[in-house]
């Protein structure tokens, strides 16, 4: 179990630059997620780590060992492929035993290990099934058992749940987390699904469309303190509002054309936070309280007209048009079983309240 260090790696396909001077440290023993939009180069990065592609420039380390040009079959890094890539001519047992047998492990130990693994992934009793007779979730679990069979230092998972339906996906996510805890292997999980990433990761890296890492942090850090508009938008829903900063003493004000001033609280002042600078603020929809009544004890207040109301089960989404014509989203938890007394409908005039701590200032 060693950490992965990626240093200034570049890679291009057909003269198209996919990864440009990318550096990233993946700590050992963690469930690490690479989250990014489709086609941003995260699979390419994974293939570089597994050795299925070689870098154009840069270096990759596994612990202290330089594995940049080590062939894939020598690396102690295994992959769970997106389409599983299970061997169709082998049974479930033989698929899982593949890497052990290549290593020349004795058949007795192979049997012991494979049966143990199959029990862990809940496939006991299906050892001799053919791959084509398994369901998607079962195939997924075979792929997982196969990849983990020879105890890799790093397990790479390339959107392994993309082909499964919603309920199965939730279930498999929890199983993956359990497995990671059991094996203590470093998991590098690739996904474009932010809710998956938030659920499973110890820490994650967000990649943008250009294949650059925007931010690295825990789920909470990423969600609550996004470092850029891209991250704020990509992970969860948010309202991005453009405005100008004013700093007086230690108070920060955020001025928006046509809306007035907001109070902003910043835990740690950044160098770019200077008076008169044009910046953005991110405000999560669920941090806004929407009400027809007047309320006290909120640092910021806005007025708007409800455009439409979308009932989403656990919450209701309100689309509100502000005085300056901009739209803002607000989520309200549906805590009560019966409709709230205060029923907000389209065309209603509403007050929006939020605290200054809930605003995140973003440079870009």
């Amino acid at each position: 179990m060693r950490a992965i260090k990626i240093q200034n790696v570049s890679k291009s396909y057909n003269q198209e630059l996919i990864l440009d001077d990318l550096s990233l440290n993946i700590p050992s023993g963690q469930f690490f997620t690479l989250l990014g939009p489709s086609g941003c180069g995260k699979t390419t990065l994974l293939r570089l780590i597994s050795g299925l592609e070689t870098v154009d420039s840069g270096k990759i380390f596994l612990g202290d060992e330089d594995i940049t040009y080590q062939p894939a079959y020598k690396r102690r890094v295994n992959t769970v492929f997106q389409q599983y890539a299970l061997f169709p001519h082998l049974s479930v047992f033989d698929n899982v035993a593949y890497s052990l047998r290549i290593k020349g492990v004795s058949e007795k130990i192979v049997r012991h290990k494979v049966l143990h693994l199959l029990a862990i992934v809940r496939l006991a009793g299906r050892e001799f099934k053919e791959i084509k007779n398994l369901s998607g979730g079962q195939q997924q679990r075979v792929a997982l058992a196969r990849a983990i069979a020879c105890e890799p230092e790093v397990l790479l998972l390339d959107e392994p749940l993309a082909a499964l339906d919603f309920n199965l996906r939730e279930q498999m996510l929890i199983e993956l987390m359990d497995l990671q805890e059991k094996f203590k292997t470093t998991f590098v999980y690739i996904t474009h699904d932010q809710s998956e990433a938030l659920t499973v990761s110890d820490s994650m890296a967000i990649m943008n469309h250009d294949g650059q890492i925007e931010q690295i942090g825990t789920s909470e850090e990423i969600y609550e303190f996004p470092s850029s508009c891209f991250v704020a938008n990509f992970v969860g829903n948010t309202n991005i509002i453009e405005g100008v900063l004013y700093i007086r003493d230690n108070q920060i004000e955020f001025k928006v054309d046509g809306l007035g001033d907001f109070w902003v609280f910043v835990p740690k002042k950044k160098s770019w936070m200077v008076s008169g600078r044009k910046v953005f603020m991110s405000l999560r929809p669920e941090k806004i309280l929407i009400s027809k009544k007047k309320m006290e004890n909120f640092s910021n207040h806005l007025v708007g007209t409800v455009l439409n109301v979308v009932y989403k089960g656990r919450s209701t989404l309100y689309k509100v048009r502000l005085k300056n014509g901009k739209l803002i989203l607000a989520f309200e938890q549906n805590e009560e079983h019966f409709p709230q007394q205060e029923d907000i409908c389209a065309q209603d005039e509403v007050n929006l309240y939020f605290q200054k701590e809930n605003i995140v200032l973003l440079e870009r």
């Binding site: 299925l52 061997f87 047992f93 890497s99 290549i102 049997r111």
Partner: protein, 299 residues
């Protein structure tokens, strides 16, 4: 009655398969069955139909005919093996390594077989005779001391056979390899297999159905081949096919011809059936033994 009722009620898909079944019956089994039946019938030019008899089988119950069938058997066997050895690399590179002009290469492979077989064979005459380029080249290298005829020999027969049957081996293997999911190769190398191990444990087993098909497609017609051995082999050796042709076209002993044909088909069927059953039994026994071991280690 019950049987008919059951067929109509439960196995009605069978009814939809009837046209295909009839087609097989008329075009495949009927001719074959008629050959077998005719081989048992006795006619006399004057009295007509005399009845069933084994007389023609008794007539061909000679060591010569066994030798003829064995000749054909080995000719087919060698042809299949040589074809396999040559075809596999070709199919492999065509399917997995060649990126562009794939169709062109495939087209080039089958193009020669579009010409008439006789023309193809006579082309080899010019290549294998004494004054041919090949003969001169071999002389030049020093393999031959003087220019030699290479036709009318087992060697030239084999060349003709392999040449004609090669596409039937390449195409099925190529098809299987082409269809193979490439990510399996990546998965294999990811799991620690070198290229050679990947070939042995993934590519080769997956291409086995193609190899079996190719062997069947080459072996069966090669067993009955008569044009190539009689033209390129100089009719030095008798084969199953050549003997049947002789019986029908030259000596006019049709009944003996039918009998020889039947024996040959029987021989072929038995051989292939035996091979298949041995494979099957070995496979079943292997899995059974393995399952028992698994059961044992579970306890």
């Amino acid at each position: 009655m019950n049987f008919v009722k059951r067929i109509l009620q439960e196995e009605y898909p069978f009814i939809f398969a009837l046209p295909a079944f009839m087609w097989q019956l008329f075009f495949l089994y009927l001719p074959l069955v008629s050959i077998v039946v005719f081989s048992f019938l006795e006619f006399s030019p004057l009295q007509g139909f005399l009845g069933f008899s084994f007389s023609y089988y008794v007539k061909i119950f000679k060591l010569v005919y066994l030798k003829v069938i064995l000749n054909s058997f080995f000719l087919a066997l060698f042809t299949s093996i040589i074809c396999l050895v040559i075809s596999y690399p070709v199919a492999y590179f065509l399917a997995l390594k060649v990126k562009r002009f794939k169709t062109l290469f495939l087209f080039g492979l089958v193009l020669p077989s579009w010409t008439n077989l006789i023309v193809q064979i006579y082309a080899w005459f010019f290549l294998l005779e004494r004054r041919s380029i090949i003969s001169k080249l071999l002389c030049y290298i020093g393999i031959f001391s003087e220019p030699r005829h290479m036709i009318n020999s087992y060697f030239s027969t084999m060349i003709g056979m392999v040449y004609c049957f090669l596409p039937f081996m390449i195409l099925p293997i190529y098809t299987v390899l082409e269809k193979m999911n490439r990510s399996l190769l990546e998965a294999s190398s990811d799991l620690g297999a070198s290229r050679f191990v990947t070939f042995r444990k993934v590519i080769l087993p997956i291409s086995l159905p193609g190899i079996y098909t190719g062997l069947l497609l080459v072996f069966v017609p090669a067993f009955g081949e008569f044009v190539i051995p009689s033209l390129l082999g100089g009719a030095k050796k008798a084969y199953w096919g050549t003997v049947i042709v002789d019986k029908f076209l030259i000596s006019g002993e049709w009944r003996s011809g039918f009998a020889i044909a039947t024996v040959g088909v029987l021989f072929l069927g038995l051989f292939i059936g035996l091979l298949f059953s041995v494979f099957k039994i070995v496979k079943v026994l292997k899995t059974k033994r393995f399952k028992l071991k698994i059961q044992a280690s579970k306890k």
